[in-house]
Amino acid sequence: MRSTEELVQWCQRTLPEDTRAFEALVAEYSARVYATTYRLMGNHHDADDMAQEVFIKVHQNIKHIDDPSGFHSWLYRITVNTCLDNLTKRRRRSRTVPLMPEPEAGTEEIFADQRTPTPEEAALQHELRRCIERTLARLGVGERAAIVLRDVEDRSYQEIAEILALGLSAVKMRIHRARLAFGQLLATICPDSWRRFAPDEAPAVSGRNAHARKGHGNG
């Protein structure tokens, strides 16, 4: 098993003639990139397009990376910015069309929990996730990015500030406002789900990085 640095250097030596190193890199990172594109785009079709776009950019530009140890953050920045550029262009093209289509039927198949829930739990989880997706889809691009990166991707404020090219204080403000906007929307779209997370019933959310960052390694 090669380290990321070794994989990057192998790509730099052998691309474009030999793609074996690049294929190994894609195999290693496709799940992480796809998860991020899915969370930002909100549906499979766009997530797939954006993830493909990301790896094409990696293929074209990996030779220019001076420090292979910075590959994780370079890749993450490309992933987020590719999605945000696409969402911004789409919104600019038409202000009357929703940011993205409602999550397609069968979206639940993408979620594979670590343990097998009971049928009741599964139904609730499914309903909750559909509600979250529908609500996220109605937020503005900046708000959506801010809370997805912080609360779903579990990225630090500093990292989010760098990716979104904002000051630390502005990022915190945006995340706070985005959470409030999300709550108001969810209360309208899915009042039952919102009530389930009332302060008395909400599961305790422990501090920063409480949940292991799934599939993000050192990135």
């Binding site: 894609v26 496709s30 670590q114 996730r129 404020y157 630390l168 959470r179 302060p199 959310v205 599939g215």
Partner: protein, 108 residues
């Protein structure tokens, strides 16, 4: 209230910090309500961290196919440009060949 909102975001993320804010929040019920709402949202979204998202089975195959196609197109464009360059040079050479040869100027 805007000036404390960045701190409220920290407060939502880090319940350990809440104790130092208890008195202030009691005096500012609007801010306390915001913190409660933001905590509920974070609790909801954290749910998504626990879900893994499956990559389509043919993702890598499609990507590599696209990269190979792009490379082929670039090679064709390269070949096309090289061929076009050669054709332009040949055309210029033919045009210059049609021009009358310069005549020596008679000595005065």
């Amino acid at each position: 209230m805007d000036e404390v909102r960045p701190d409220l975001a920290d407060l939502v993320d880090d319940p350990a910090a809440a104790s130092s804010w208890t008195a202030w929040l009691r005096d500012h019920p609007d801010a306390a309500a915001e913190v409660d709402a933001a905590r509920r949202v974070r609790a909801l979204l954290v749910e998504l961290q626990q879900a893994s998202i499956a990559v389509p089975a043919d993702f890598q195959a499609r990507l590599m196919q696209r990269i190979r196609q792009d490379a082929t197109v670039l090679e064709l464009v390269d070949l096309g440009l090289a061929g076009l360059g050669r054709a332009i040079l040949e055309l210029l050479a033919a045009l210059f060949a049609l021009l009358p040869a310069p005549q020596p100027r008679p000595a005065s």
